[in-house]
Structure formats: C-alpha cells, structure tokens
C-alpha cells in the first residue's frame, strides 16, 4: 500500500505558516524547559526517596513541594505547542494518535493519577509512612511512561510508511517499537530532563537563601546530577544520531550547511555546558544548557521536516487569510503576560508591606 495515499488532506490555515512555526518552536521550547525541570525533579526525587526511605532530606522535601507546580506548568505549556502542532502537522499527528489511541488516551488517565499522586506525596508526606516509596515510584513511573507514549506518537507521526499496520490492528494499540530511533529518542529526553532537574536542584540551592554550606552542598549535588546525566547523554545522543535514517543523518554531516552548522553548535554548547558544570559555575551552566536546548529544539524541527519532506512541508499549506484573530491573540498574550507579571510581583511582595496587617 502506498503510504503517501494514506496521508489525510490538510485544512487551510488563517495566517502564513511562518507565524505558526514561530509560535510552535517558541512554546515547545518553553514547554521543554518546564517539562525537563518537572521530569528531572521527579527522577531525582524518586532516587532520593529510595535512598532515604525513612526521612527525605530537605532538598527532597523542596522538590516534592515544587513538583505539583512543575506538573501544572509543564502541562499548560504543553497545550500551546500541541495546538500549533495540530495546525501545521494535524494530518500526521491525528493519524498517529488514532493508531495508538488506547495509549494516547491513557496519557490523560496516567497524568491525572501522577499529578494527584504528586500532591498526595507532598501534602500527606509524613502520614504516608512506608507507602511513600510506592507512591513516588508510581508518580515518576507514570511521568516516564507518558514520555514514552509521547516519544512513540511524535516518532510515529513521521513514519507514514508504518501506518498500513493499522489495517491489521485498527483498535488503537499500535506503537512505534520497530523504529530504531524510538528508544534512543526517549532516553535522550529523559536524560536531558535529569540533567535539567539537576540544574533546578542546584539553582534552588542558590535561590533559597540557605546557609552558605547548605547552599553549596545543594549546588554540588545538583551539578553532580547534571554532569552525570550530560555525560551519559553524550553516548545516548550519539546513539540517537546514528539511529536516524542515513539520508537524514547526512544532512547533519555535511550535506546541508544549516543542518550541520546547527548540530555542531548544539554539540559545542552541550560540551561547554558540561565543562561549566564540572567547574560548578551554576549560572553559566544554566545559560549554556538553555542554549543547548534551544538549538536542539531547532534541530528536532529540522529532523521532523526531513522525515516528512517526501510527503509534505508546511509551506504548502493553503492560507485562507483572516489576520484579526491573530492580532487579538498577540494583544491577549501581551495583556495576559502583563497581568501575570503583576500578580507575580504582588506574590513576591506578599507580607512585606509595612503597616498592612495581613489577615
């Protein structure tokens, strides 16, 4: 069966595709940062809990307290790129989602359980006693499972050649297990999350106005996580890179200047971050890591386009222009961010006003 014939026809878009591309990459980048912090924290928390079943150390308590927030924002920041992904690549993502419908829908259930579990772990931490271990295993395990499901969907959407399997298995139970990129892809994301989680832990040390000794210990611990994960990442990243189809890999090894340059810059940034991490220089490490992640987001987009190039490219989408809704969106975003900034300012100043008696 000709896979290309299976690709559904896309709908029109209301503004030029470049806008959606910008919004997709921007919001995905933010989502990735937040998701990394969330998942990394969850993994670190799991390890801490298993290592200290009787009494979670203060750093762990803090991570446990933050985890529900990180989940909330990771989900919220995930909504936006999912929206723009549907606009640009809807015919691919809907199809692969349906093919794995049972798993895809399970994400919602797992997420609710993991999120609820995270709150429970935090709010009822002491009362839970021995059940803490099991709970954090479920929470972190759930988040890792969600990552696996996402890796399946995001990779299967790029493989229309695997879609004809549907005809023998139409019940929504397909995955992309035969794809050589799946496992390294998933591990690459998890490892990156752990590394970012380490940075988050370390930054918490600086932020929290702890005693200098405790702060330094926190930074050291966080950096250990970062360095460890990033070192492993070198291997996983290489594995991921070499699991890509030849013609796509070749784009990054010389065939295309843009692709190759971007990959080299990204690897360089990663190595720099590793070096800075070994040197325990927190904020430069964070800066280099953010740069690395940003470059990797761009590379990921290029890889996606390369996979789909034989079938489709977003610039072929037909525009049925209606710009006013987008104008309203940018205005709403500006206004919304302004109000959020205001609220955050109020929050940071809470309790500090002189003469005001909080109740």
């Amino acid at each position: 069966m000709d896979a290309a014939a299976l690709i559904p026809l896309p709908d029109t878009i209301p503004v030029s595709w470049g806008w959606f591309q910008l919004l997709l990459l921007l919001t995905f980048f933010l989502h990735l940062l937040c998701m990394n912090m969330m998942l990394g924290s969850a993994v670190i928390l799991l390890v801490k809990q298993l290592r200290h079943p009787a009494q979670l150390p203060p750093a762990g308590r803090e991570l446990a307290g933050h985890l529900p927030f990180l989940i909330a924002f990771a989900v919220n920041l995930g909504v936006a790129p999912l929206l723009f992904l549907q606009v640009l690549y809807g015919q691919f993502i809907y199809t692969s989602s349906i093919l794995m419908g049972v798993y895809w829908l399970a994400v919602v259930a797992i997420l609710i359980l993991a999120y609820g579990g995270a709150y429970l772990y935090n709010l009822k931490h002491d009362a839970l006693g021995k059940r803490r271990n099991q709970l954090i295993i479920l929470v972190t395990g759930g988040l890792v499972a969600i990552a696996f499901i996402f890796s399946n969907n995001m990779s299967m959407m790029l493989r229309p050649d695997t879609w004809p399997r549907y005809f023998d298995q139409p019940g929504g139970t397909l995955l992309n297990l035969a794809d050589p990129t799946l496992l390294p892809r998933w591990l690459h994301f998890i490892t990156a999350a752990v590394a970012t989680g380490g940075l988050y832990l370390a930054a918490g040390g600086r932020w929290r106005r702890l005693e200098p000794a405790a702060a330094a210990a926190r930074v050291t611990e966080g950096m250990h996580w970062f360095v460890g994960a990033t070192s492993v990442q070198l291997g996983i990243g290489t594995w991921f890179f070499f699991s890509l189809p030849d013609h796509i890999r070749q784009l990054f090894t010389g065939t295309s200047t843009l692709h190759t340059g971007l990959l080299l810059t990204g690897c360089l940034a990663a190595l720099i971050s590793l070096g800075l991490g070994l040197a325990k220089r927190l904020w430069p490490t964070i800066g280099a890591t953010i740069a690395t992640i940003l470059i990797m987001v761009l590379i990921r987009d290029l890889v996606r386009r390369a996979y789909l190039a034989p079938y489709f490219s977003p610039d072929s989408l037909v525009v049925a222009p209606q710009y006013s809704p987008m104008v309203i969106f940018w205005l709403a975003l500006l206004l919304g961010l302004g109000i959020i900034a205001y609220m955050l300012r109020l929050a940071l100043n809470a309790g500090k006003e002189s003469g005001e008696t909080p109740s």
């Binding site: 199809t95 919602v108 919304g336 929050a347 309790g351």
Partner: protein
Amino acid sequence: MNYPIWQLDYAGGGLLIALIAVFHVYISHFAIGGGLFLVLTEMKGYREDSPAILAYTRQHAKFFLLLSMVLGGMSGVGIWFTIALLNPGATSLLIHNYVFAWAVEWVFFLGEIVALFIYYYTFGTMARRQHLQIGWLYFIFAWLSLFVINGIISFMLTPGEWLVTGNFWDGFFNPGFWPALFFRTFLAMMLAGLFGFITSTSLQDDRFRENMVRYCGLWLLTPFYFFLAAAYWYIHSLPEPTRDLIFNRMPELVPFIKAFCWISPVIFLGGLLMAIRLPGRVKRPLAGLLLLIGLVYMGCFEFIREGGRRPYIIHGHTYSNAIRPEAVEKISATGLLQSAKWAKHKEITEENQLAAGREIFNLLCLPCHSINGPLNDIVQLTAGYSVAGLATRISCIGKGDGYMPPFAGNDVERLALTNFIVKELHNKNKQQAAAHLFRPPPPTIPPFDRESDDYVLLAWTDFGIHTITDSDADWSFRPPGSNLYALLIKRDPTPERVSERVILTYMVESSHADPAARVKFWQYAKQLIGRDLPPNTGIFGKKLMGIMNRPLTGSIFEARGLPLLPYTENNAYQPYPLVTITAMTPAGKILATTRTVLPVSTEVGCKNCHGDTWRMAEAAGLDSKTARNVLAAHDKLSNTRLVAEAAAGRPVMCQSCHRGNSDRNRAPGKQLNLSAAIHGFHAILLGDLGAESCYTCHAADPEGNTRFYRGIHKEIGLDCTNCHGPLEDHALSLLLAEQAAGKERADFLIKALEAKSSPEVQPRQAWAQQPDCLNCHENFAPPEVDTTFNQWTSDATQLFRNRTDEVGIPCGACHGAPHALYPATNFYGKNRDNLVPLQYQKQPYPVGANHQCRVCHRQDMEDEMHHPNSLRRFRNPR
C-alpha cells in the same frame, strides 16, 4: 474518510467523549463559579470581620485548587485528546479555524493557574486588597476561558453566518453564543453552591456550619430563576427546525429532557433542604447526593445539546461521520470504500463482504452507534431486521427522522453493511427453514358443453389478493372477509342475465374449512369490530359455504365477507383456495357450475423490519412477537400505549384511530387515515427502491410465498410502479388529500418525502381513487404508454372492480381480478386463476376474447357492444 477510524465496539458511539466531557464540564463550570465564590466569600469574611469565614475560604480554596487543577485542567486536555481521536476531521476544521481562539484561551488558562496558586499560597500573607485582586483576576481569567470555549462549542450547534462567510467572528459570535454564555455562567454559580456544600458540611462548629451551608444554599438558589430564564433564551435562539427536532422528534432525547425537567425542582428543593438545621452526619451525605444529582443534571443538558446537533458534528456543514453533505452523492456513486483513504477492502467480494461491512460500519456508523455498548447500540436497534428489511431501511436513513445522515455508499456496500450487521453481529447465518406450502395438482375444471349447455355462470372476486393480518390478539387492520360475485347468463344471441327463480350456492374447498382453528379473530371480534361473531362466520354473517345473496337491483349475486384464511387443515400455506359456485332452480335442478379462486394472504412484510419469524408454515402469518414490536415502535414514536392495551386483552383495529372515508360508520378523526399514515410513514424508511419498496410489505415479492401480482400486466413486464408510482409518490398522493382535509400530521410527512416521478403529485382519496385503466388503454385501444400516475378515477364508482361495460357486465366477470387479470400465472398452479375462461372457451384469456362470442351468444357477433376494441385477437397470447 480522510482519517483512520479507531475501531471500538462497546465504547463506540462517542462514549469516551461523553464520559470525559461531562466530567470535565462539571468541574470546569465549578472552577468558574467557584472562583467568584472564593473572592466574594473572602470579602464577606473581611466585611463581617470573621476569622472563621476566612479560614473556611482558605480551606475551600485548597479543595478548589486540588479539584480544578488535578481533575479539571487535566480532563480539559483530555477532551482535546479525545475529540481528535474520535473525529479528527471535525477537530481539524475547528483547530484550523479557531486556532487563535484556543491560543487566547491558553493565555487565560495560564493566567488562571498563576492566579490560583498565588491566591491560595499567599492567603493570609498577602495584604487584603491585593489578595482580593488576585481572586478577582482568577475569576476573570476563568470566566474568559468559558467565554472563548463557549464560542467554539456553540458554533458547532449554531454556526450561523459562518456557513456562508467562513468568517471567524461570524462563527464565534454565532446565534447561540450569548444565551449559552449566560446559561453556563448562571450554572457555574449554582455549581459553586453545590460544591460549597461539600466543604461547608464538614465544618465542626454547628452554628457556623449552618450559616455557611445556608450561604452556599444562596449560591445554589439565587441564580436559579436566571438560569431557567437563560435556558428559555437558549432554547429559543435555536433555529426552529433544530428546536423542533430536539423537543418533538427525537425519542432518544426524551429521557434526558424529562430528567432535566424533573431534576430542576429536585435540586432547588435540595438546596432548601440544606437550609434546615440537621446534624452534620446527615448533611454530608446529602451534600454528596446533591453533587451527584448535579452531575446527572449537567450530563442531561450536555446530552441534549450534543444529541440535538445530530446528524451533524458541525451543524449544516459536516455530518457526525465527518462526511460533508454535498459529497454524499459523489461518494455513493464512486463507492465509499473507494473514496475513503483508510479503507482496506477497496473491492467487495464474497470472501471479504463481512469485513468490508465492518469497515463501512466504522466509517459511517461508529461515531454514533456502539456495538453492544451503552450508546445507541446497533445490535439492539437492528434486532428484528431480516437482510431484506435492513438493506431497504439503510437506503432511507436520515429521511424523515431528520437526525441521521444519509447512507453514503453504493448498493453493494449497503448490502455488505447489512450482512455485517445481520450475519455477523446478530449471528443470523442460519438458513431459513423451508416454507411449508401446499401446491396442489391442477384443479378439475367444471365441464361445459358448448353445444348443449344453456347457461354460463361467471364468478370472480374484487381483489387480486385480499391481505389480512392474523395476530388478532395484538392488533388487526382487516378482519377476514373475501368477497365473491357471480353472474348467471342464459345463452342466446341476445343473452339474458338471470337472477329470478334461481339459487346460487358456494362452497370453499374443504382444506380451508376451519379458519377458527388457526386464528384468534373470533376470540377478539368484540374488541376489534365491536361485536361478537360465531366462529367461522364472517362480518356479514356468511360462512365458508352457503347461499349467495340475491341482488336487490341488477343481476350480480354476491357473498361478501367470507372468513377465509390461507391455511390448510395441515397448517400449510395456500393463499389461493378454490370456491365452487353452483346455480340451480328452487327445485334443485343444476343449471351451471363454475369454480374460481378466492385469493387471501397473510404474507405481510412487517417481519422484515419488526421481527423475523413467520407465524405459520415458515411461510406467512403475522407472528405475535412481530406484532408487538410494531406496537412498541408505534408507542415510542406516537406516544401511545398499544402494547399495554394488547397485553390487557384489548387489541385495536388500526382504523379505530386511523379512520378514513371508506370507514362509513365513523367520521374521520385527527389522525391520518390508515393508508396515508402507513404509506406516508414507511415511504420515508423504505422508499427509493422501485417495486422492491412495495413488496417489502405487500405479498408481491416475485420470490415470496404468495406472488400475488400475477396477471397479464406482469407478464408483459410492468411492475407495481408503472401504475401506482414509486412509494414516495404513492404516499404523497394520499398525504396531499389528507393535508387538504386539514390534517396537520400530513405536513411533516410531506416535507420529508421527495416526489420521485411527478413534479406535482395530485391528491387522491384512499381506496376510492386509483389509476384508471383507461389512462393507458385510452378508449380501450392498445396503450401507447406503459406508465400512468397522477390520473385518478374521480371516485369509487369508476374503479375497475365497480365498473361495468356498456351493457352492464362488470369488468371482473370477464377479465378477472385486478393484479390477476386473465391470463394470470399462479405460483400455486399455472392456470389456477384462469379456471373460468378455461372452462368456457378452453383458453385462459378474458371471457369472449379471441372472437369467443359464442360462449354467451351461441354465434359470432359483429358489433362491439361491450366496449370498443373487444372484437379482435388477444394481443398477448401465451
């Protein structure tokens, strides 16, 4: 079509979106109303200088945060996931049109989360004024989320001008937008009260608990009036056809509408009840119960809204199965499986027919119908159908009921789908048992000596088939009662019609002698026709043998209402029993004898759709289960109690309500006469297939057990529709007459039908106005056309069965009965209908045809006295 279908069975029909959406909507509306609740309650705490109220507010905020963040927010994303899985085509359209609406909503969602976190975590540490600002900002963000999503949801039901302009703003601010927004806002406030009961009933201090519970009660009760007013506004913002559909023509929605109406006062009373001083351990479960009732309440509304949008997912634009209305014709021509991208079986063969049927089901039916699941279970809905019945039914889905899309596929695909449902889902692969028919050897024809016999006795009946129902314990539309007519002629160059000093006796053959042993009509005669009858006696007092009535005027003898059934003493099916008529002098000298058929059938096709077994002989008869299914359908669609009445021993005659002009004893009522009602309604479900539509119900199926359409017109290749028109037109002619008589029900049926042949169907009275033979046989000449429709006899006197030739001989006497005109070919014996002409002229043609004037005149004749064109060779000899 464009996308693969997630193949579901139990969870089909949209169960997943129903569950996730109702769950989310309940919590999300609370998340909006609850936001206002928080900030106003906090203000109340400051105003009354009450630390207790503030502590309660904070406690409620924690409950609120956990509930709305974990369950509310996540299930909202869940809806997104689910709609793309169940209807990617529609989702893609919504996303591509409303991407920036969703993007704006995302900004508000972000603002909500930030505001809510800050509100809860700075409760007590942030200054009052600022804290209230945060609270207000939360509520505003939450309500704005509703504002945006409401635009998209209401668009789906009432897209308004967007259908023409495609403009974002036309679609967003659609006709249903504002009423729905107000409706949901008031509902959100009420839910704030309902959820507030949960936290307030847990307060320890009795007095304070009562105060706060009552306070929450205010939240529930105060918006109630405005909520109902907004509901009224919402209902009236719907276009009239949609409103009519939801409230008048969708039996599936009736339980939800009823529940919504009943729960409204229940919730109101519940709120009042919560104001009464009761211990906490009573109030807490009561709060939980009210919360559950609230969920059901909300669920009913959402089901009504979703159900009322059928058959569309985007009203007027895309059907629920993602097919565009304007594409249906092309898809039906090309074939669904050829047109769909994700169809495996592009060609249907015998081997893959059931699998192809499953694919067609997935593409066309699964969005609304589950298989053995809770939503519109297709297995339950198609329980009674045979392959023939269901195949016919599928060709007409959507017409008339108004809430199903039309079948988008060709005939082969329609049959594949039918076979999938009947053979695979219902496991009805078993072979039908062989029919037990009694096909006797050719009957003896009474002798006639052309030289010496002085009399010719002609006998005939008025209907080529007399169809009755035989499930009298359940209902009936005609009691047994066949009519026999006879004419005795003294042979002479000027023949004489004899009716004085002569007795005509009749005797039905003995095999059919005891109908009371095989039907229950006589047990229920009192209910059905208003009076008791002795067994085996007809409605005019005649039995199956006796003396024919002498005419008061004219010369035609008659024996009417003979209670014949088509069952033999061996319980075999034999719809053409013979009757022997003998003319004799009062002294007993026999003048003439003849024999003819009295056709009677119980092969009514109800079972094709209403249940699948015959009552008798595996061949015919209305089974009681089928009959009850018919009543059940009638009860459901027309709000009657016929099943209960039948079970209580009071079966009805259909005409007791569906009276017509031919029911002389009663004036017509509000209901349509039976012919208009039954044809009008079923034409919507069974039309479109030519003569096949007719013999889905009538016993004229050329492969059936009666095959009553058997005369010369069949032989030359005409079918039912040549004279009676296709079913839609046939029904329309009856309905138009009823409409002219002021019957409102006719309007709805007329609108639902499309005339197939004539641009302007002419109204006609049932039974009295039929196609006139002379429409085609103009002036009795050979016809130039083979179709007649829309030209009716002016009244019953012009009907073939009531007419005579120019000298007063009834048409039937020489030509036989309608649908069995000589020469007829009978399935139960080739010449079984033609006994009279065979007796007198050794040819099966009309009496006197082929220059057989000697039969009555003893000599050849020159003038065409009977009717023009009668003196010539028969045009279609065998």
